[in-house]
Subunit: 141 residues, 2 copies
């Protein structure tokens, strides 16, 4: 299991390991925001992935995107690999709304995160796990 | 040929059509910044791509990334599909440096673009075209 950069471990709630990535829920109630962390050690940028790894990352981006679409019905998805502050390769998958607090700007670095109330985080993590159980049943049988 | 959103046509200098995307050089001398625009009409988000299209987009991201790495030796690549202002699906591939004017923040919406002096744009477009001719020779024979 790949180690998480301390900042990712601090800001994210662990959900599951998907095709190739660890899936985290960003603990920020302002934006439905998932983070994918590829499980090979030492990665910094997307172009370091092999084509096979990239196909797996895409599969995971798709899983994350579909959950956000189905659960939140966003106006737009933002998908990005930046890593200027956290060098460990990670991909943001964020549901955006035309009335969200950062719209139309990107969400990064605008406001400090506003953690979910514990019950709300628990409910959202449960929804994510239910979705994943249906979306990738073979991994849970 | 897919039509470009007016904002993309205004901000980008056309370079070539790659595997599946039109390649634009963002006319902003503050950041080495390429934009990929998938050539299927009507796309808004990455999760609307078929797996085959996604593989082609990835091939194009890799081409763009490798040019930026080889030509500029950046500290980090930023790769993102946002589209909050320009709904047509497009992917940013940006070379970042720890001393660039936006570091460590994302580049979007921080400062107005600073167009290249014409000679510099011409030189960079030529380097890109030379790179692409070597990287995908079959398309140019």
């Amino acid at each position: 299991m790949v180690q998480l950069h301390p900042r990712l471990a601090q800001d994210g709630l662990e959900v599951a390991t998907l095709t190739f990535c660890r899936l985290l829920l960003m603990n920020d109630s302002r934006h439905p925001w998932l983070i994918l962390v590829p499980t090979r050690e030492g990665l910094r940028d997307l172009d370091e992935l092999t084509p096979e790894e990239m196909a797996s990352v895409w599969a995971d981006i798709r899983l994350a995107s579909r959950f956000l679409r189905g659960h939140f019905h966003p106006d737009k998805l933002n998908i990005a690999s930046l890593g200027n502050l956290v060098p460990q390769l990670h991909i943001h998958v964020i549901a955006r709304f035309i009335d969200d607090p950062a719209w139309p700007h990107p969400v990064w670095g605008r406001n400090p995160p506003l953690p979910y109330p514990p019950q709300e985080a628990e409910k959202l993590l449960k929804s994510l796990q239910d979705y994943l159980r249906d979306a990738i049943p073979a991994r849970h049988e």
